[in-house]
Symmetry: C2
Subunit: 236 residues, 2 copies
């Protein structure tokens, strides 16, 4: 069975059918116990034990030490939570110095529902794992190793993880990343993650309302606004 | 007949029924010939006459001179188009120095479809007129003259122009404008315009798919993404 969102789009699309099969994207939020070391009584989990008993999250068992170190490095007050600038700094040690807009989108997608403007150890570990997947995808589809993904590579990358996005939709998304000169858009890892997260986030929201995968959904006005607004604006 | 989007929401809402009646918001994009001076052969229209014959827009007849001056002041190369930073500067003379995020949203909403990253005289005049309406609304609902609109005032203001936005939706929107401290959010004119334009823009898009005003609409995946993406991201 295809992991694409909608076979109808897939069959109409021009997407490379040879794109390697990937697991359905929804698994990315539930990744990680299979490929990580077995649980250990690391200092980090001990360190956050008190926090955890207060209702805060702790690192999942088996979280790699470098992930824990990256979090602890920026959580200077040992509150167990980091804000957007701390997250930006923490991720720059393992991935990339993302711009704040991407950071806010990541925070929104991985936030602790009880502490919406901060990220705790559990959310940080999930985010790190997810970004590792995105990096793998980026490297796989950046075939010329330019460090940039072009529109065709982005389309193939999204297709490869199960999102057969119509060309017109992708064009609309990419039009926002141009410099106004009309030159061909190329995305660095930062913009690639942002585009991918937006497509994934909105498509997943839509799928929740289209449980039979018909390619269309009936939405109330409230539901529509509630689905969309979180992606729209960021606090200054 | 009410100008609210959906009588169902209106009757369920807690919105002040005494909110003054305003014309339906859709008229705001079609404003302007009634309250402006009669057409004149101003130097500006002459100035742009050649531009217009090349396919560019010119100022609509009767555009106030201060609007024309504001445009010309920043269009130094007399190209007949201004970019985002020039628009920011031009609007600061009459309204406010909007942040670039708001400027990009305004450009998206008022853009010339053939020149998507620039604004010409016609679009500039429409934008100026629309901002004048928003300023009037802001001043009317900023009852304590604090220069800030609080959530209740925003709700009343949107209701007053025909948008009975559910409280939960408004809360979601406003959550993005907090500073993370949990303090009550207050919006300056900049954020007020951004919030208002987002609500208006998305609601109008939804209404296009809900022509019978039932409060729900059936959307294809493509239509959903195409409706939403333009509001989502801005070019860097």
């Amino acid at each position: 069975m295809s992991s694409s969102y909608d076979g109808r789009y897939q069959s109409q699309s021009q997407y490379a059918p040879s794109a390697p099969q990937q697991p359905p994207y929804s698994s990315y939020y539930n990744t990680s116990t299979s490929n990580v070391p077995p649980p250990s009584n690391s200092s980090a989990n001990y360190y956050y034990a008190n926090v955890s008993s207060s209702g805060y999250s702790s690192f999942p068992p088996g979280t790699p030490q470098d992930v824990i170190n990256s979090f602890q490095m920026v959580d200077r007050d040992r509150s167990g939570f980091i804000d957007e600038r701390e997250l930006q700094q923490a991720l720059s040690s393992g991935f990339h110095r993302f711009n704040l807009r991407t950071i806010r989108l990541l925070m929104f997608l991985f936030k602790n529902p009880h502490q919406p403007l901060t990220v705790g150890p559990k959310e940080f570990a999930a985010l790190w794992s997810c970004l590792g997947h995105w990096r793998g995808i980026f490297e796989r589809y950046d075939k010329d190793r330019s460090g940039k993904i072009d529109p065709l590579e982005l389309r193939d990358a999204l297709y490869g993880i199960g999102y057969a996005v119509p060309g017109s939709v992708l064009q609309l998304l990419l039009s926002k990343y141009g410099d106004g000169s009309g030159r061909r858009v190329e995305l660095g890892f930062d913009s690639f993650v942002e585009c991918g997260m937006i497509i994934k986030g909105l498509t997943d929201k839509f799928k929740e309302k289209d449980t039979r995968y018909t390619g269309s959904a009936t939405l109330s006005y409230d539901a529509f606004m509630t689905m969309v607004l979180p992606f729209l604006v960021s606090y200054d």
